[in-house]
């Protein structure tokens, strides 16, 4: 009797253990494997053929004939200052947009976290609601709003506030609006999570010990929500840096973002190896600081223990 129970338990545990592998399988199939393919292409030469790049390894009947690896694509990225400019400009746009999201999102998350539970859920739903509509459509809707003959300019002109349409679209300003609008929920949700579970006694205790309201915020609320701030910033910054749709639809010709360059290299120039190198460098720009940061954190954690 008891034996059969443990057996069933074992079986269920085994199933659980296997299901825990699912995220790893997911990462392997949809992230690591494509990345290795991209990495492979980035070391190849472009070719007018299908596929449009040379093979790294030359196989014949007798086996591996030769391995042909080229670093030309990477050298090209470093030699042409155009790419460095674009990387820097992408980082700048993503960073500014992240800061804007934080400044907007923090008060919103704080406000939601301090509501009654029923109202809290309603407000959270409102934050998530835009996700029910296609991302592309939502960004495209901004074209209708910001256009020279869009809703905003028309309304302002009809009211007589301006007589020339404001340059609201096809510039960096529109890109910032697009990114902040699209990624704000990714900032709000982790911030909300860290603010909501914060013990309110801590705020009272700080006030009791002589802290004014802004001091309570600076000394207690802000440091304790640091994990939420970090998570929110990463969730906005990482996708924003490689964003393609927003600069493509709302940006001007002088809006330089790496997502658009990638598109151009792949689809206009059909230079897959250079495009792959661009993607790999972008990944390194994102991953290396994060790895460094994580090491710093774990060292700090073990230091205080």
């Amino acid at each position: 009797m008891s034996g059969s129970i443990t057996k069933a338990g074992d079986k269920r545990l085994g199933w659980l253990r296997r299901s825990l592998l699912a995220p790893y399988v997911w990462l392997l199939v949809f992230f690591l494997a494509p990345f290795i393919i991209i990495l492979k292409i980035s070391f190849a030469d472009p070719l007018v053929a299908l596929p449009p790049f040379t093979a790294l390894m030359d196989w014949s009947a007798t086996g591996l004939q030769k391995i042909q690896v080229t670093f030309d694509n990477y050298l090209f990225l470093f030699e042409d200052s155009f790419y460095a400019t674009i990387y820097l400009s992408s980082i700048k746009i993503a960073a500014v947009a992240t800061v804007l999201c934080l400044l907007l999102g923090y008060p919103m998350a704080y406000f939601i976290a301090r509501q009654r539970p029923g109202r809290r859920n309603l407000l959270l739903l409102a934050v998530i609601l835009p996700f029910w509509i296609s991302f592309l459509l939502r960004v495209y809707a901004w074209v209708g709003l910001l256009n020279n003959r869009g809703i905003i300019n028309n309304a302002l002109m009809a009211l007589g506030i301006i007589d020339q349409p404001l340059p609201l679209i096809y510039n960096d300003f529109a890109v910032y609006i697009g990114i902040v609008y699209s990624y704000l929920p990714f900032m709000i949700l982790p911030l909300y999570a860290s603010l909501e579970r914060m013990d309110l006694d801590l705020h009272d205790a700080a006030a009791d010990l002589g802290a004014k309201r802004w001091q309570v915020f600076v000394d207690v609320t802000l440091p304790l929500s640091a994990p939420g701030i970090l998570a929110g910033c990463l969730l906005v910054f990482i996708p924003a840096i490689g964003e393609f749709i927003i600069p493509a639809l709302l940006g001007g010709s002088d809006t330089l973002m790496i997502g658009r360059i990638l598109w151009d290299e792949f689809f206009v120039n059909r230079d897959w190896p250079v495009a792959s190198a661009v993607a790999v460098v972008l990944l390194l720009i994102l991953v290396l600081p994060m790895m460094w940061f994580q090491r710093l954190e774990s060292r700090q954690a073990s230091g205080s223990a």
């Binding site: 013990d199 006694d201 801590l202 009272d204 205790a205 700080a206 006030a207 009791d208 010990l209 002589g210 802290a211 004014k212 001091q215 000394d219 207690v220 440091p223 304790l224 205080s304 223990a305």
Partner: protein
């Protein structure tokens, strides 16, 4: 903690040294006048008046929902009252925010800042006073010494045990040298052994520093051992304010009698009353009872005769002394607690009374067993007469 002892009252050598609330000339440290707080139409604190004197360890005792925590939070400045006043040393504090009140609070959850070390936690309140770094350092070191936590200064607070956290929280509040320290269920999070120990520590600290403590608790044992005075709170009001002895031995109503300790209540009707003695008819005992009283109740009125279990004597033989109430019954149930035994004795009417007796003699064999016929009796002076 030099200087703290200067806070003691100036009326040190009066006969009211230990009982300033009896001194007609004493000025209270804290005065609460007609304080009320309503939450969505329900009164959490209902027109409360209270005066607390310097050096007191005052306990507010009540169950959950009695309004005790709301009252404490109003004293700390975390909740604004709907009406009424809070005066400290004669100064109106009602509209003063918490960070400007000469009051500190120890929270039930202790509310230690998890991102700071023990030392940083304790120093926080002093930093907000913009004191010199050297003075902050000295005061923090002194208070950590006082609560016997000097070796923990650089620890993160999440690495501490419950008792250690409690002491850090206490140090963090005391280091500010408040006029009034509020403690919200200070011992609730500790296990039993530690609680008893900490109780005495708390009393010693309070005695040493001369800071006035207000403790909120639901635990009557805690209230009994700690306090100079207890206020029993129920539904937003004080049912009784008095010393532990007064509240226990002279409860003013059935709520207090039941809430503080265990008590047997017999419903009676007044038959005759004269010279501080009352004759009562009682269905439960099927005989007339006699009780002493201070205020003579009207004849015919309904009264409850209240007797504490330890005031009842239990034996197989009938006691022969004057002015005692003697009843016959059988042992329905008994519980052995080592130091004492608790008996539940059923009267012929079916009513059950609880009796507790010290186990004075060392004997492995019980002298009284289940279903034994026994006599229970009490001195008529040790029963209390309560109306509604």
């Amino acid at each position: 903690m030099n200087g703290a002892s200067n806070d003691m009252t100036d009326s040190n050598d009066s006969i009211f040294e230990d009982t300033p609330w009896l001194d007609p000339d004493a000025t209270p440290l804290l005065e609460i006048q007609g304080l009320s707080k309503t939450y969505s139409g329900r009164a959490a604190v209902d027109n409360v008046n209270l005066a607390i004197y310097r050096g007191e360890l005052f306990t507010i005792l009540g169950g959950s929902g009695s309004g005790k925590t709301t009252l404490l939070r109003m004293l700390g400045g975390f909740e604004p009252p709907n009406s009424g006043k809070i005066l400290i040393d004669g100064v109106d504090m009602t509209a003063i925010p918490p960070y400007e009140r000469p009051v500190n609070m120890m929270f039930q959850s202790y509310a230690l800042f998890p991102h700071m070390t023990v030392e940083q936690n304790v120093a926080y309140g002093l930093k907000k006073e913009n004191l010199a770094t050297a003075e902050i350092k000295d005061r923090v070191a002194a208070i950590l010494e006082l609560v016997r936590m000097p070796d923990f200064a650089s620890r993160k607070t999440d690495k501490l045990s419950g008792g250690e956290r409690q002491r850090v929280a206490l140090a963090r509040a005391l280091v500010k040298r408040p006029k009034l320290l509020l403690l919200d269920e200070p011992l609730a999070a500790l296990d039993r052994k530690l609680r008893e120990h900490t109780q005495f520590e708390l009393m010693n600290l309070q005695d040493e520093l001369g800071i006035t403590f207000i403790v909120v608790t639901h635990d009557q044992d805690e209230a009994m051992t700690l306090s100079t005075r207890i206020a029993v709170m129920n539904e937003g009001r004080f049912e009784q304010i008095g010393t532990p002895g007064e509240v226990y031995e002279y409860p003013v109503n059935r709520f207090v009698a039941n809430f503080v300790g265990t008590i047997n209540l017999l419903e009676t009707r007044v038959v005759d009353a004269a010279d501080g003695r009352v004759s009562l008819s009682c269905d439960a005992t099927a005989k007339e009872l006699t009780a002493h009283c201070v205020q003579t109740p009207p004849v015919g009125s309904r009264q409850w005769l209240a007797v504490r279990p330890e005031k009842i004597f239990i034996d197989k033989e009938a006691p022969k002394s004057a002015d005692r109430t003697v009843l016959k019954g059988t042992v329905l149930d008994l519980g052995y607690f080592g130091n004492l035994s608790i008996y539940r004795v059923q009267l012929p009417s079916g009513t059950v009374l609880q009796v507790s007796a010290q186990n004075r003699r060392r004997t492995a064999k019980r002298t009284l067993e289940w279903d034994d016929d026994v006599y229970i009796s009490w001195d008529n002076a040790s029963a209390v007469l309560l109306d509604e």
